[in-house]
């Protein structure tokens, strides 16, 4: 039982991060039916920028909380600019191209971003300085670390804020209108180019926060870290129903939990033939399962409500 609860906590933490990244995929898909496969690399860039800033500032003896805060803000700023540039340079010229063209561009962009990151930060691992106090809350046999608490709560707040933004504000209304019918939205005075750019910017800001969470949780970052994370988050978005915001949140959390439980029990179930390093298998088994039995995802419908 303790293993179960502990893995549930670990899974929810991981799942919160997946959910934040998955939202970036699903928002962009919702508004322009494009899978932005470079999104995982945006997470990586955010993580590495934050690491650099935090290392630098704490090296100068700045107070730790301030260094972390500035690191997060720097990561968000860089990623938002990056998102804007990606949309403008890589996708906008292909708005009317066949669907395959932007997809290939996305993959190419992903490779470019990885290699540029390797040039800037090197191919080694960057470590996250031990900035957060290693406090934890023990509850029965279950340990919840401070960083887990911060990740889950912060992710929850961000997601709630995003839902309110999309459902309750004029900006959100313009986003939903653009998603449903860009031509008509324009005639209502919605500058759809701006809304699309803004969607990329918002998704990239979420990616930056998620990137910082990943390095704070695992204590290391590397130029390849975005690939698997992006793939998992994309899986989460498909699991929840791509284009559907609550779906991405649900899909992310579910995937994190499935993965953590899988990792926790696989050894017992297979007589230690498979170890927890097989945990990635679960994410993609889930993806295959969803695609076979419920191709529209858990909350997706055929007449999908996008964004």
């Amino acid at each position: 039982m303790d293993t179960f609860l502990q893995q549930l906590v670990n899974g929810l933490t991981l799942g919160s991060i997946y959910a934040l990244v998955a939202l970036g995929y699903t928002m962009v898909y919702g508004i322009m039916e494009l899978i932005n496969f470079a999104h995982g690399e945006v997470v990586m860039v955010g993580a590495l920028v934050a690491l650099t800033v935090i290392q630098l500032l704490s090296g100068w003896g700045w107070p730790v909380p301030l260094a972390v805060l500035l690191g997060v803000l720097a990561a968000m700023f860089v990623c938002m600019v990056l998102g804007l540039v990606i949309e403008r340079v890589a996708y906008r010229p292909l708005r009317r191209a066949p669907k395959l063209a932007p997809l290939i561009t996305a993959i190419g962009l992903s490779i470019v971003l990885q290699q540029v990151a390797a040039l800037i930060w090197g191919r080694g691992y960057l470590s996250f300085p031990a900035v957060l106090p290693p406090v934890s809350l023990a509850w029965g046999g279950v340990i919840i670390t401070a960083i887990q608490g911060v990740i889950v709560v912060l992710a929850g707040l961000i997601m709630a804020g995003l839902l309110i933004l999309v459902q309750k504000t004029a900006l959100g209304r313009a986003m939903r209108a653009t998603a449903q019918n860009p031509a008509v939205a324009q005639l209502m005075g919605v500058d759809t180019d701006r809304i699309i750019a803004l969607t990329f910017v918002m998704g990239s800001a979420l990616a930056a926060v998620a990137g910082v969470m990943v390095v704070a949780y695992y204590n290391v970052g590397n130029y390849t870290m975005g690939f698997m994370l992006g793939l998992k988050a994309f899986t989460a978005a498909v699991l929840g129903g791509i284009g559907n915001l609550p779906g991405a949140m649900l899909g992310g959390l579910l995937l994190g939990v499935v993965e953590a439980l899988g990792a926790g029990y696989i050894g017992d179930l297979t007589g230690n033939f498979f170890g927890s390093n097989y945990k990635d298998v679960f994410a993609f088994m889930v993806l295959i399962g969803v695609l076979v039995f419920h191709p529209n995802g858990l909350l997706g419908t055929r007449a999908r409500e996008k964004v």
Binding site: G161, L165, T169, A170, L171, G172, R173, A174, R176, A177, Q180, N181, A183, V184, A185, Q186, L187, M188, G189, V190, D191, T192, L198, A303, E305
Partner: protein
């Protein structure tokens, strides 16, 4: 109508020599149109005459190959629908194009977008100004729904409305942009005689409240009753323009409508 006297002097909309080609097809050749404030103008013609193409040029969906569009004395931004909306031209569609998954009220609220700020920061931080603006948008949207007579349906999902009410909702959404010119693409299509009569009343009321109306319609009798001026297109060219009486008796129009040597 305050601006009527002024409008008679300088037209609200002046299109001069508008041409639009699609490959080898000349959808519009040199179409000119003057439209006064506070008028109801009908755009009629056989299928494929270029009526909807003219609407698409007017509302910035297409850029004309030739010709100029002046609206209220200013050149209209070509090929930029959101900027055209900001200038004060709104439209509805031949095939209804609502935001089907959004509520009736939200559809109209989107129409207010062009007249509101809707900034990112305001939306993120829910400033007092944003909240006030949102309340004003909601109030105006409800008012417009009552105006077109579907106020009771505000909370429903747009796609669940009856066909006639969907057309009314499109009109309310277009009016939400505070247009000086409302362009209606076959607003009465698929309506029975009673619905048509009620729609005619609504259109007259819109004109009386200060918005000029340009409408495409196939039902010639209905158009002739409703409109002050009528413009007839055939094969992308304007073949007649004038009062309903004058146009009705124009031999070119009769031929275009009834074929060779008709009545």
């Amino acid at each position: 109508m305050v601006s009527e006297a002024h409008g008679a002097m300088s037209p609200l909309l002046e299109a001069v020599g508008i041409s639009k080609r699609f490959g080898g097809l000349r959808a519009l050749s040199g179409v000119s149109l003057r439209l006064a404030s506070g008028s109801i103008t009908g755009l009629i013609g056989p299928n494929g005459a270029g009526k909807t193409t003219f609407f698409n040029v007017l509302t910035g969906i297409y850029k004309p190959d030739e010709g100029t569009l002046q609206f209220a004395g200013q050149p209209l931004p070509a090929g930029q629908p959101h900027a055209v909306a900001a200038c004060g031209i709104a439209r509805t569609f031949q095939n209804i194009r609502l935001f089907a998954n959004m509520s009736v009220l939200e559809n109209v609220m989107v129409g207010r977008h062009v007249r509101t700020r809707a900034g990112v920061l305001g939306a993120l931080f829910r400033t007092a100004a944003t909240r006030r603006e949102e309340e004003a948008i909601t109030a105006r949207a409800l008012e417009l729904l009552d105006y077109v007579g579907i106020g009771a349906q505000a909370a429903r999902v747009a796609s669940t409305l009856s066909y006639g009410d969907q057309r009314r909702l499109e009109i309310a959404r277009a009016l939400a942009t505070d247009p000086r010119l409302l362009a209606l693409d076959e607003p009465a299509a698929g309506m029975n005689a009673t619905e048509r009569a009620r729609l005619g009343e609504l259109i007259r009321r819109i004109r009386e409240d200060g918005t000029a109306v340009l409408l495409i319609e196939h039902d010639v009798k209905w158009v002739m009753q409703l409109c002050d001026r009528v413009l007839v297109l055939d094969y992308g060219e304007c073949i007649a323009e004038g009062t309903p009486q004058a146009v009705q008796s124009d031999p070119k129009v009769i031929e275009a409508y009834l074929g060779m040597g008709g009545a």
